[in-house]
Symmetry: C2
Subunit: 340 residues, 2 copies
DNA sequence: TCTTGGCACTCCTGTAAGTCGAGTGCCAGT
DNA sequence: ACTGGCACTCGACTTACAGGAGTGCCAAGA
């Protein structure tokens, strides 16, 4: 049996009321609070159907109804329009991000802002190196056998690593290395780096080869393998809103998941262009997060995407509001990056 | 009335049992589990005195006793010897830190290690810039009006900031700036930097002065004012061990405090040489942490201290074990830094 | 003077029973 | 197809009661 308009309207009302009150919602309260134009008995019949279809359920036999993950999914897909942000929120975003002085600063401000606006846990991925280009590579001699490698990407991101050289090297040698490395890699996409780095080794004179090989291996390790690792997190205290009711009684698994950067990157980092992705409860592959929902999207200058950001909260969240905020923040951050 | 040896022994037994079982401990259970050589009635008399002196209290009239903050304090100061670490723990520390490749890596590994060993929340401060010296300053031209300032400290810490120049500048000019800045600051303590930076501005030729002033202000801002800001955090999931019993029912305030870097720096960063500092419950100035205890110490190569590290947990924690672990980890990290 | 056994007392914990009320499902009537 | 009515279910909350852990105090003993 398919769901007619009124049944969908009932589902929407249930979701909205439950999100607002955090209490199972009954048929009587529903007709009182929403203008459905029918009696509680009718609503009960609709509820019975919705329950049979798996969109709502009763915590116990004589309580009201609560949306299931499938119910939230239907709500998000078909029953909600994205709320426009209030002028106050727009102003808050602008003011908050305006003073940023630095990529680090941008990321930190963004993640705090997102946590504050959505009142949930916010995650922001640093611009992914695999989507960046090399702006400049710097080699700073530390001692005769040690060099600090500093990579500056066009996104403003800076990575550094200490390189242990196999043999003592003069500062002229280092300058020479620096020139060669920059000539080969500057302006190149990091994703294209591996063959170029290999070429650097192949092209270098025999006597410099071991040194270059050493540098090359660190380069690859830093720029490619460890590339997407960084992210910022804020708002974990928001997990405790709504008592222990959300997250089925224990924050433990959620906090554990939030400590694993790999997990967060999986959640936030896999973004398709101009889509806001919503994962509700069971839709999360991570077991620890089966009681949580994640709203994520990509950001970047213009239409390109250099990283992801999003929020995590209980399945019982204000999806329209959250989606709107996440999108808006992503757009502002993208604009900010475009200016540099 | 002063506390004789047996009363202290009773207090120790109460603390140890309560830490182990997390349940109020009564007189009968106490004489059964510890060889006190006296009857429960005697222990009860001692308990009455200990309670009057404020070292223990009863949650309700007919429950066992629980240590107060003052009781833990006395226990830590006079009743516990620091446990030696097990060989397994020593090995774990060595293995965990051995693979570190980088200062960032050292800090991340350390904080995870500390969280894992103590099963509590761990905090590690990056080597404080105010206690470091400048190894090298690098200026990387980004565009004609933008330069990336990279500072490398002797502790391995690297800071970078984008500098907007007031006027277009050639790369020769930048090289010149770099030379001057390094000549003045390389090898100097960061704490001594402000007058030197000022001197740089005063000494520069009139036509270069505005540029130098601009650079100088960013230098000061980055190196001095924002200096001690960075730290790493791990193990927040450990807060949920022991149910909601610890932290008087709500993790909220604790999680909030952990999000404030300023607060954490206050807790971890204020270290005196070769002391392990223990703050128990009310002894914390931060209101949100009045139900928590903090064990912190300094670390650094040799006898010098470049930063702080520590753990935070419920007042009901294994102090001797925690103190031992924190000290040991700090020493290993110090040794590691000394090698660089 | 310190220690100890005895004893009455307090008060938390757990169980059982009973009431209340919200909410439901179903059915007959419109 | 919708509605009002009604019996039913079941969790939430109260009360009552028994059990037990733990205490404080006291008088007697070392």
């Amino acid at each position: 049996m398919s769901l007619d308009d009124r049944k969908l309207e009932v589902l929407r009302a249930i979701v909205e009321d439950y999100v607002a009150t955090q209490e199972p919602v009954g048929s009587k309260a529903l007709v009182e609070r929403h203008q459905l134009g029918v009696s509680p008995a009718t609503v009960r019949n609709d509820m019975a159907v919705l329950e049979e279809e798996g969109y709502i359920r009763q915590p116990h036999t004589s309580a009201g109804r609560v949306p299931t993950d499938a119910g939230y999914r239907l709500f998000v897909d078909r029953l909600s329009r994205v709320k426009a942000l209030s002028p106050a929120e727009r102003r808050a975003i602008e003011r908050f991000l305006a003073g940023a002085v630095d990529l680090d600063d941008v990321v930190h401000r963004t993640v705090r802002l997102l946590a504050q606006l959505t009142r949930q846990v916010a995650v922001v991925q640093y611009p992914s190196l695999s989507r960046s280009s090399v702006r400049h590579l710097e080699l700073v001699p530390i001692s005769t056998t040690r060099v600090m490698l500093v990579m500056i990407a066009d996104t403003g991101r800076v990575e550094q690593r200490l390189v242990e050289l196999p043999a003592p090297t003069t500062s002229d040698d280092v300058l020479d290395l620096r020139r060669k490395v920059n000539a080969k890699l500057a302006g190149q996409k990091l994703a294209d780096a591996p063959p170029l780095v290999q070429a650097l080794v192949d092209e270098s004179a025999p006597e410099a080869r071991t040194t270059m090989a050493c540098l090359a291996s660190v380069l690859l390790e830093t720029l490619v393998e460890r590339s997407d690792e960084r992210l910022a997190l804020a708002g974990t205290a928001n997990l405790t809103r709504g008592g222990v009711l959300d997250f089925q009684g224990s924050l433990r698994p959620v906090l554990e998941a939030l400590e694993e950067e790999v997990i967060l990157l999986k959640l936030i980092g896999e973004v398709e262009p101009s889509t806001t992705r919503v994962r509700i409860g069971d839709e999360n592959e991570i077991d620890n997060l089966r009681a949580a929902s994640v709203v994520s999207t990509g950001y970047g200058p213009g239409a390109t995407i250099v990283g992801g950001l999003g929020v995590l909260g209980p399945t019982r969240m204000d999806y329209p509001g959250t989606i709107a905020t996440v999108r808006a923040v992503a757009r502002y951050v993208g604009d900010l990056l475009a200016q540099n």
